[in-house]
């Protein structure tokens, strides 16, 4: 199994069978297609990038070309079973607002983002340089990731926003890491609902 597909599977495991899903920043729609195929889910992806929108249409995945920075007023409260934010949070100016919106629209939310506290990153910082890794492949002055946070940071943010964490773990090379995820995983995954 490839790293991408095992990551999909780890995230898909958090999504109930037949769920109505909204995928914020759905990329080329492959996760949604996977959820439709493997877990009989329905739903929509939100994407801003033209080539990703095209890829979604090509896949036959419902996609709405919207800018997440403009907000999600188009969606009613609790209108989805699960709202996904997979590798999206780090690109958002209004990250906290979007987290609150995720909780408003979805009965549950799943957020995944690069964990800045992963040990190779810590090592790099100790050596005095911003990390450039497979998971964070950009130079500090030229990165689309305008937010960097850690697994632990998200726990604090979730608490502040009254989110009840149902499950959380790290993902490293497609493998779930539950022991010391903050240091041992490049990706942080949180499954939550609003309290």
């Amino acid at each position: 199994m490839t790293e991408a597909s095992s990551t999909f599977q780890a995230i898909a495991n958090l999504v109930p069978e037949g769920a109505r899903v909204l995928d914020l920043g759905c990329g080329d729609g492959s996760l949604l297609a996977y959820l439709q195929r493997e877990r009989q889910c329905s739903g929509y992806g939100i994407e801003f990038d033209d080539s990703n929108v095209l890829a979604c249409v090509r896949r036959g995945v419902n996609v709405l070309q919207l800018n997440l920075e403009d907000g999600l007023a188009i969606f009613e409260d609790n209108s989805f079973d699960v709202v996904l934010q997979i590798d999206t949070l780090q690109h958002l100016r209004n990250a906290e607002v979007m987290l609150r919106e995720t909780a408003r629209i979805g009965k549950q939310g799943v957020v995944a983002f690069p964990n800045f506290a992963h040990w190779p990153n810590r090592l790099s910082i100790l050596q005095g340089r911003m990390p450039v890794t497979k998971r964070l492949p950009y130079q500090w002055y030229d990165t689309p990731n305008i937010r960097v946070g850690t697994y632990k940071d998200f726990e604090v943010l979730a608490l502040k926003n009254k989110l009840r964490i149902l499950d959380s773990f790290g993902l490293q090379g497609g493998e779930v890491r539950r022991w010391l995820p903050n240091a041992r995983a490049g990706t942080a995954v949180f499954h939550f609902e609003h309290a």
Binding site: R20, Y44, D50, V53, V57, N62, V63, Q65, I74
Partner: protein, 385 residues
């Protein structure tokens, strides 16, 4: 150049009841078809036209080099709406001046041309007439209804009037209804026409004249609203027609944009019918499927069953992306299958007729999927046998 198109016409003797309470009988609908209807009659796509277009959607007429259909870049063999896969039907609306019965035709009740007596027609009336044409062509269910601008409104109306007769609705650069500003532009255009001394209350045919001045101004106003400020600046800027010198005249054409608008206006007044312009702009004004539901578009679209693809263009201020998003929202509220592309194109409303790789790519992919569905459907039908 693509293929040769042949206009056809269908006569309908029976009276068609119109939304206004009036009716029209003994009318003709002009139409064209491209491609082949498949064995189970499931691959038909109806294309609804915008304000000044017609049934001549694609191809060209024999021996007429400049007779290309208005959506020829979109529809044809190997094009985004591939006529090797689909049976495409272009139909001209009632009240038009391009072949279907309109104000220039004889009124069967009066023995003279309709003129101003042609009944007011609505988007819903057009859709009803189109459905009758499909009956006669033996098509029970369309693969899709496709339309841009006013054509998009017809596609939307189709999903409500005949939800079971279509599988997909492709709505491009459209809106659930006109805004006050849109209606205002239409009204200025209409006043330009009806206040032309040659208008004669709409019975100008009897006088042997044409209210060309009014039509020219109507078209100039329309044209301004179809373009974006950026494109106008890029194309014309403040460029003067004759060198650098100002003529200090208030009558002459001085700026290039004036020259362009006058040219467009003149061209239009040579071929478009004044009463048709009034009728079509009124149909635009009236369209408002949410009206019977107290303005609630979500309730209005509850009956729609089609799968939707919507496209808007960022610089279209006549039918802005926000208006398309209203439709998207109403469909989301009803948990309908919908995709929406917001194309960042500079051309304003006219973008829906132009080539843009992103726009064409999305359309091609959507229709390709539709074609695959058809093939899959036929396969499963064969397996069942």
């Amino acid at each position: 150049m693509s293929f040769v198109a042949t206009p056809q016409s269908m006569h309908f003797p029976e009276a068609l009841p119109l939304q206004s309470g009036a009716s029209i009988r003994d009318y003709d609908l002009a139409y064209e078809t491209y491609g082949q209807l498949n064995a189970d009659r499931s691959n038909a796509i109806l294309v609804c036209h915008a304000l000044n277009a017609s049934h001549h959607v694609a191809g060209y007429y024999e021996g007429q080099a400049k007779s290309e259909g208005w959506w020829d870049n979109m529809i044809g063999p190997g094009k985004p709406v591939d006529t090797n896969q689909f049976f495409v039907i272009g139909v001209n609306n009632l009240g038009s001046c391009f072949g279907s019965t309109g104000p220039m035709h004889m009124n069967p009740d009066g023995g003279h041309v309709y003129g101003a007596d042609f009944p007011v027609v609505t988007v819903e009336d057009w859709v009803d007439a189109q459905a009758l044409l499909l009956d006669r062509l033996g098509i029970t269910q369309l693969a899709a209804v496709l339309g841009g601008s006013l054509g998009g409104m017809q596609a939307l109306s189709w999903t409500l009037q005949y939800p079971d007769r279509m599988r997909h609705a492709v709505v491009v650069a459209s809106a659930p209804c006109l805004s006050a500003e849109n209606i205002a532009f239409n009204e200025v255009a209409r006043r330009a026409i009806v206040t032309d001394p040659d208008f004669h209350g709409g019975h100008f045919y009897r006088e042997g004249v044409i209210p060309k001045r009014g039509l020219r101004i109507a078209r100039m106003i329309g044209h301004i609203t179809y373009l974006s400020d950026d494109v106008m600046n890029q194309k014309f800027g403040r460029q003067l027609r004759e060198g650098l010198d100002l003529k200090y005249s208030t009558q002459d054409v001085e700026f290039q944009i004036e020259s362009y608008l006058r040219y467009q206006g003149d061209k239009f007044s040579d071929y478009f019918d004044a009463n048709t312009y009034l009728l079509i702009t009124r149909a635009l004004d009236y369209f408002d499927p949410a009206k019977p539901f107290g303005g609630d578009l979500t309730q209005a679209l509850a009956g729609a069953k089609a799968r939707f693809m919507l496209v808007s263009f960022s610089t279209d201020w006549r039918f802005s992306p926000a208006r398309s998003r209203e439709i998207v929202k109403a469909l989301l509220d009803n948990r309908r299958t919908v995709s929406y592309a917001e194309i960042d194109a500079p051309h304003g409303h006219d973008a829906f007729l132009l080539d843009d790789a992103r726009y064409m790519g999305v359309m091609r992919s959507y229709f390709d999927n539709m074609a695959r569905e058809l093939t899959a459907g036929q396969t499963s039908a064969q397996e069942a046998v």
